[in-house]
């Protein structure tokens, strides 16, 4: 599994990481709750036939600027800016969890900016008679099994890489969970 190339774009004065890998028609991917602390095999599969572009949402790993976004409209405008600057205007978009919700909303508000969308477990639909599990109110040990059919895969995703800063890594993971919470609840 080779590493993607990394660039950075500016959204509201804050840097956001953009990963790119593969060749062929462009497809953008917006990650879900917690973001992507590292490249994952799923994106490699996509990159076999497509140019995969993975911009980090504000506050997700590799990006900051979540704490100036107060309303959901603030977020949508920021995501639209991020996608455009990442070269994804008019491309196919896929997303999971909160990223899945965003691709749907971007397509609804700016239909010309998206060719096709694919959503994986989009977050944000809410039935008060059957509320979704609150992922922000969990014991840390319970989170992997709640979010992933293969808990070990989730643990690997979040495990601190060799040589990473042992203070900044957990702060970055917490920041991503905070950013995800900020998207849907004012």
């Amino acid at each position: 599994m080779s590493e993607p190339t990394t660039t950075t774009v500016d959204v509201n004065g804050h840097p956001c990481r953009v990963w790119t890998k593969g060749s062929g028609p462009k497809i953008g991917f917006l990650a879900g709750f917690g973001g992507l602390p590292r490249w994952i095999p799923f994106l490699d599969r996509l990159a076999e036939s497509r140019t995969v572009i993975v911009p980090s949402l504000p506050g997700f790993p590799g990006a900051t600027g979540h704490n100036i976004l107060d309303t959901h409209l603030d977020w949508l405008v920021a995501v639209r800016t991020l996608l455009t600057k990442a070269g994804l205007d008019g491309a196919d978009l896929a997303g999971s969890s909160v990223g899945g919700s965003f691709v749907a909303e971007i397509a609804a508000l700016w239909p010309q900016s998206v060719r096709r969308i694919a959503m994986i477990a989009p977050f944000g639909l809410f039935d008060e008679n059957n509320p979704a599990t609150d992922v922000w109110a969990q014991r840390a040990d319970d989170v992997p099994a709640l979010l992933c059919a293969k808990p070990e895969a989730y643990k690997e995703l979040k495990a601190i890489p060799a040589g990473a800063n042992s203070v900044e890594w957990p702060i970055e993971q917490t920041r991503a969970a905070e950013a995800a919470a900020r998207i849907f609840c004012r």
């Binding site: 979540h66 704490n67 107060d70 922000w136 109110a137 969990q138 014991r139 319970d142 042992s166 203070v167 957990p170 702060i171 917490t174 920041r175 969970a177 905070e178 950013a179 919470a181 900020r182 609840c185 004012r186």
Partner: protein, 432 residues
């Protein structure tokens, strides 16, 4: 030294198997455990106890705000404070306090605190907590990521509302009000003393010190465990060029006094075990929502953990600083509770000696005493309160007399105050 009598108002009849059968005392505690008819008696007992503390000569009586829980039955401390304002005359009333970010608009806090200050004749101490994660994020649905920003803005709005003489417009990030003009306005000028409850956050210490507010460390784990936090606080005051006036700081301590140590153990074991075992039984999943703790505070905590882990690996596991969860696990029974210094129990001499040590080592002038805790009955509470007032209080009072307490209410002179209650007795003259 000031001694404040602080009531948490716990639900006193949680079942014996509460901890085993219920995941949390907060947020999703089951409604079937709450009996309103029993709560009628609890509230009235608690108010009696607070009024009794005022009669016994404590400098202040205190209440606070919590939601959706069996730990403290005061969603509105302002209701309690108002009742106390009518039933006491000279004691300060410390509302510790109103969680500013939970009020919409926050001018409600400015108004209600001003009402309490007017009704009480200027006896209010105004506390501004951020609020626990359980109260703010989970019970009240506030986004932890915005909580502190909302708190800061609400604070600025309340302070302006108290002090500006003319109607003004407030156009904040979270609050927009075209006409801010509160009626009533507080008696105390320029405003009631402001106290900030908090824990080990350098940012909170700095924020409070810059505004000349009192910082109160509300820990339930006793003065021995509080040494590191309060040393850090005073070091930060030194760094900011503030004096070491002990009245800048408050500390909460659970206390049980009796004629002898054995008698104290007999009286206070059950309520202490109830308090630590049931009232503090909070599901960890409600303890730290992302965004509640600032990144700067997370960084300090993580850096100190890394450092302590390194030191502990040299010195052995016992050198590690206990975490809140560890501290809670040490409180399983009265022996652990007392041996770890969470609760101060004993004869008047024992208690006096320990509180002297507390005052001197923490350099704290505003001592908040938790003298009803857990399931403690009204009679035992009365006994504890009275014995402390008679045998301990006089010996602690002279402490720190060389310092001025600039953070204490300045009530109206007695001659300026209303007679309470005006129509008591057979004729108006009887009230005089």
């Amino acid at each position: 030294m000031k001694m404040l009598w602080f009531h948490l108002m716990p639900y006193t009849e949680l079942p014996d198997d509460f901890k085993e059968k219920h995941p949390s005392v907060w947020v999703d505690i089951h409604s079937s455990l709450f009996d309103p008819k029993r709560a009628h008696h609890m509230y009235n007992d608690f108010l009696d106890e607070l009024e009794y503390a005022a009669e016994c000569g404590y400098d202040a009586i205190c209440c606070n705000e919590h939601h959706s829980n069996g730990y403290g039955l005061m969603p509105s401390p302002n209701l309690i404070a108002t009742a106390l304002a009518r039933r006491t005359t000279d004691t300060a009333i410390c509302v510790m306090g109103n969680s500013l970010a939970l009020y919409n608009p926050p001018t409600r806090v400015a108004e209600e605190f001003a009402m309490i200050d007017c009704i009480s004749g200027g006896r209010l101490i105004a506390g501004f907590p951020v609020g626990t994660p359980m109260d703010t994020t989970y019970a009240y649905g506030q986004n932890p990521s915005m909580l502190r920003e909302r708190y800061n803005e609400a604070h600025d709005l309340v302070m302006r509302a108290w002090q500006e003489k003319d109607t003004f417009a407030f156009n904040g990030r979270f609050n927009q009000q075209r006409y801010v003009n509160i009626w009533p306005r507080p008696i105390q000028e320029p405003h009631p003393p402001i106290w900030i409850p908090g824990a080990g956050s350098v940012e909170t210490w700095r924020w409070a010190a810059e505004r000349d507010y009192v910082f109160c460390y509300l820990s339930y784990y006793g003065y021995k465990m509080a040494q590191t936090v309060m040393k850090g606080f005073w070091a930060e005051m030194d760094r900011l060029g503030k004096d070491r006036n002990p009245y800048r700081a408050g500390f909460a301590q659970v206390v049980g006094v009796a004629e002898s140590r054995q008698q104290a153990m007999d009286l206070y074991t059950e309520p202490a075990e109830y308090f630590y075992g049931r009232c503090l039984h909070v599901d960890p999943r409600f303890a730290s929502p992302p965004g509640y703790t600032t990144e700067a505070t997370q960084r300090v905590g993580l850096e100190s953990q890394v450092k302590m882990a390194a030191e502990a690996s040299k010195a052995g596991p016992s050198a590690q600083q206990p975490s809140a969860m560890k501290m809670q696990s040490l409180a399983r029974d009265m022996k652990g509770i007392v041996d770890n210094g969470y609760v101060i129990v004993g004869s008047p001499d024992d208690v006096t000696d320990q509180l002297m040590e507390l005052a001197k080592t923490l350099n704290v002038g505003q001592l908040m005493l938790l003298m009803q805790f857990g399931s403690m009955s009204k009679d035992v509470t009365k006994y504890n309160t009275r014995l402390f007032a008679e045998k301990v209080m006089p010996r602690l009072k002279p402490l720190f007399s060389e310092w001025e307490n600039k953070w204490w209410p300045k009530p109206l002179r007695v001659a300026e105050r209303a007679a309470l209650p005006a129509f008591a007795g057979s004729s108006p003259a009887a009230a005089e």
